[in-house]
Symmetry: C2
Amino acid sequence: MHHNSFVRLEARLKPFAEHISPLTITDSEQIGRPWGEAATDGMVAYGNADVWFSPAARAFGKQLYGAPKLAWFQSSAAGLENPFLQKIGELAEAYTSSHVQSEAIAEWVLWAAFDWFGSGAKRRELQAKKEWEKVHFREISATRWLIYGFGHIGEAVGRRLRGLGAHVTGVRRSSQVSPFADHMLHPDHVSADDIALADAILLCAPHTPETENMADAEFFASMKEGSLFMNVGRGALVDEAALLSALDKGKPAHATLDVTREEPLPEDSPIWSHPGVTLTAHTSALTSESRARNDELFLENLANFVNGDALKNLVQRDAFEAQSV
Amino acid sequence: MHHNSFVRLEARLKPFAEHISPLTITDSEQIGRPWGEAATDGMVAYGNADVWFSPAARAFGKQLYGAPKLAWFQSSAAGLENPFLQKIGELAEAYTSSHVQSEAIAEWVLWAAFDWFGSGAKRRELQAKKEWEKVHFREISATRWLIYGFGHIGEAVGRRLRGLGAHVTGVRRSSQVSPFADHMLHPDHVSADDIALADAILLCAPHTPETENMADAEFFASMKEGSLFMNVGRGALVDEAALLSALDKGKPAHATLDVTREEPLPEDSPIWSHPGVTLTAHTSALTSESRARNDELFLENLANFVNGDALKNLVQRDAFEAQSV
């Protein structure tokens, strides 16, 4: 694990000292073994934000690839389609994912929605010009939402929105009813009318062959005037040229994106400066609360692992194949 | 009523045609009587946003002052301390207020909070510089709030915040428990520690001799680093010079204000351009949903008035005196 994770968790790892011997890596790729002896019966790894956003991310990966046996890998994310995670999925005897980031991502979505429907940009513009002017805004309470992908993230968003009085339609393959949507639709049943009714459309579906470019010119042409489009799923769900052209026509009126097809977004991309786009750098899950929740999940699964109990969020090997595109 | 209100409500006023004869005023102060004869047994008036934000606001007031008998005045606002409303309070045989704006104001508060805790300014700055950088943010779910004035607005905010997982302390004189706060405090019992614990402090108390300048240098000195201060009550609750000086010291870290001591805020006020201030022009209630809710309240009270039933939100004369400062 990353050295910073170890420092944060050391006291809570001590009770496992009989079974584990921590191996740490710093941002400058220094490998450490704070206590215990090198184990020979397999490696356990915690791949969280401390690692992925560190300059040592690549060196961390090399340790995993080089291990004689990768017994268990705990990810801090839900996504599986990243090439590095695909490889881990092949190597690791057990791979567990995490859905705790949904809570943070749902807060990002509300930030995006309150700022759009609350006329945030107009308010800031008037303040900058020192103009005391009456700006009307729209209440979230009166908005209709269409949420593509109604898994952990979609439900975390839906739960908050329903509490705020909004109307939520969730789109997912599973026919299970959810308490966090007013209405559920199978993706094959979403009509142009369903799209046209929505004041806000959120994509939080995984990237699969079915979802690739799902938001294309035809999709945007069905959207409502004044509506907001948001993507926290994957950039590949969106035809970006079609989105920019649709924004120029006012349908949607605005797009708030946390993901792009190429990340980091190249400096010459027109997405950066399009007046209809608000962009964040794939950071919708980056809260200290997310980190703490992931630490809890890792420690819980570590106890499960040591005791030979079932691991939480165990990912089946075929899930990796379904995600690959 | 304003001509625009009449156009919107005409069909629903028709059932009262036996009892009323509408009198309308346009933005250019044109007086109209669309149907019926001038009544001699008293005037009824609807003072809503159509009127107050119209160039004809003063002319509207003159009609009321000049009426031989002002039988009933329906306000679209909760506040009573404005000199014009004070005068209406003296003249009108019955004065009814409105609390429906609380719903819109609560949405404004969430907009302010999500943008601050969500690092909105930093996100926009990075986009403008085309920098793909990881910005951490804070979840509302992990924030503690202190809300001064736990009436309609405070409760509307508290209800939303508790749904989002935040911890809410409401401050009010009434000892009544509220389902929308985790904790209630009498204003006399708020300690420096209570202030220091809060990640967000919201003022939504009325302006009275007790609340004048309640947020002063000592108050701000107790606030937490990184905290957010918000005011949707009245500008006079805040010592503005003390606020700006406190922001320079980082406690609070930011202030989002919908009201100022002098409105419109003079162009030379340092509040406009202080980097720690987000300012809106007393517009936290300005939604079309607020307008529709006020129209419903007016129509409901009109039926009550015509039928001789009790009026909803009737304000007692001594309430005006308690508010005057």
